[in-house]
Amino acid sequence: MNAVPIRRRLWRAFHRLGSPPYVYRLAGRLSPWLGVTSCVLLAVGAFWGLVLAPPDYLQGDSFRIIYIHVPSAYLSMGGYVLMAVAAAIGYIWRMKLAHGLAVCVAPLGAWFTALALVTGGIWGKPTWGTYWEWGDARLMFELLLLFLYIGYMVLRMSFDDREKADRVSALLAVVGVVNVPIIHYSVEWWTTLHQGPTLIREGGPSITMDMLIPLLIMLAGFSLFFGWLLCKRLQGEILRRESRTRWVRTLAAEAGA
């Protein structure tokens, strides 16, 4: 196979992803699929994890919060990386749509970070005997991640010029990415209460199959759910950014008619 046409096709796809009407329609077409699949997966995973899976031999039933905690923790980090990558693309190629994506990810990521913090805290009470432990590196850096998300949003809001807000806050998003590996490795670098890597580690996951499978299902469900919300937000953001263009006007006229 010849490599050149592939590269050109990729390049064209990349370009199409920079076109607001195309992405608007793409998001609109994707979102029902994402919505339905994520709901099904979440339902299956929740039933399996909360009812079918056996209780943990150490923690009893309290471990079941893992099915919310771990996916939301992963998404809080993955969301940040997604945001930073989108922002970087937007900065380098002056691609407005990528900035729009970053803007949409930020509040979602912040919510999942908060969720990870809260579920972790709730889980901490029965296992560590405390909701929150000052000085635990994993916990602190997760909190700092929340601050980073908030900082990104606050910085954006303090500009009234959207283009400038896009470009300057993109830089902040990129700088903050160092926090993500720190969160991940914090349990290895510092002695913490938080348990070490379970899923993503050398030598494969260290967890029994009947806990692992529902966890993976929940993980997929949460991710698709995240994607669904993202599509919805992205559509709104595109409309807001393009409100003066012809295609949005005709869209609005069609909707009105």
């Binding site: 000052w134 602190m140 601050f147 606050v154």
Partner: protein, 222 residues
């Protein structure tokens, strides 16, 4: 006369809300300081409890100082200070209005947030009302002192901030009485003593501070 003050108050409040991120920052600053501190120190409940009061008060002090740094600078750079000097009200009142506006956006939210931070330092719930009362009496004094510092700084642009720094030691008593009150409250004892002292400091500061700041600002722009 009073309506001049109200106009300035309203404009400064609007400016603050316009730049609401600036408004939120001392608070977030406060929370972050208070949350990074335990990270740096040993995370042991007994110890956290014992230094909790000190951390809260240091953070309150720092965030009020930070917030007030630009109180007169922006005005004197864009020329509005000249207009305020020519305002149909004594400059002392004008300065007071500016201080009140700043306090409303930096001090008041602190009162709301402090309990949360206090709880994270394991301060007993029963001590919270006293903590809030002490902060409510202390933050005006801190604001006034910071404003005096800011005014002196404006006037000595070349001479710089050194005089502004002379103000910091004056915050010592506020800090001591405040921490004392919080500690007494944590032990469940009466806090009337320190609170009276804080109140009298506040009266003193609010009545004299604006005059000093006004004089400094006027000389600065002469």
């Amino acid at each position: 006369m009073l309506d001049v003050v109200l106009h300035i108050l309203r404009r400064d409040l609007r400016l603050a809300f316009r730049r609401w991120s600036e408004l939120a920052t001392p608070l977030i600053f406060f929370v972050i300081i208070a949350s990074l501190f335990p990270l740096a120190a040993t995370p042991d409940e007994a110890q956290l409890r014992s230094i909790g009061a000190a951390v809260i008060w240091m953070s309150a002090l720092l965030s009020s100082l930070l917030a007030l740094d630009g109180l007169f600078r922006a005005d004197s750079e864009d020329g509005s200070m000249e207009q305020l000097i020519l305002a149909p009200a004594p400059l002392g009142l004008v300065v007071l209005a500016k201080i009140v506006a700043h306090w409303a956006v930096s001090g008041v939210p602190l009162l709301v947030l402090a309990p949360l931070v206090a709880m994270s330092f394991y301060l007993p719930l029963a001590a919270l009302p006293e903590l809030i009362a002490a902060l409510a009496l202390a933050t005006p004094t801190l604001s006034v002192l910071a404003a005096v510092g800011a005014a002196l700084t404006v006037s000595l642009r070349a001479g710089g901030t050194i005089i502004g720094l002379l103000i910091l030691p004056l915050t010592g008593p506020v800090l001591i009485f405040g921490t004392r009150a919080t500690e007494l409250a944590a032990l469940g004892e009466s806090v009337a003593g320190p609170l009276y002292l804080l109140a009298s400091l506040a009266v003193l500061a609010v009545s004299l501070g604006p005059l000093i700041a006004a004089a400094a600002v006027r000389t600065a722009l002469e």
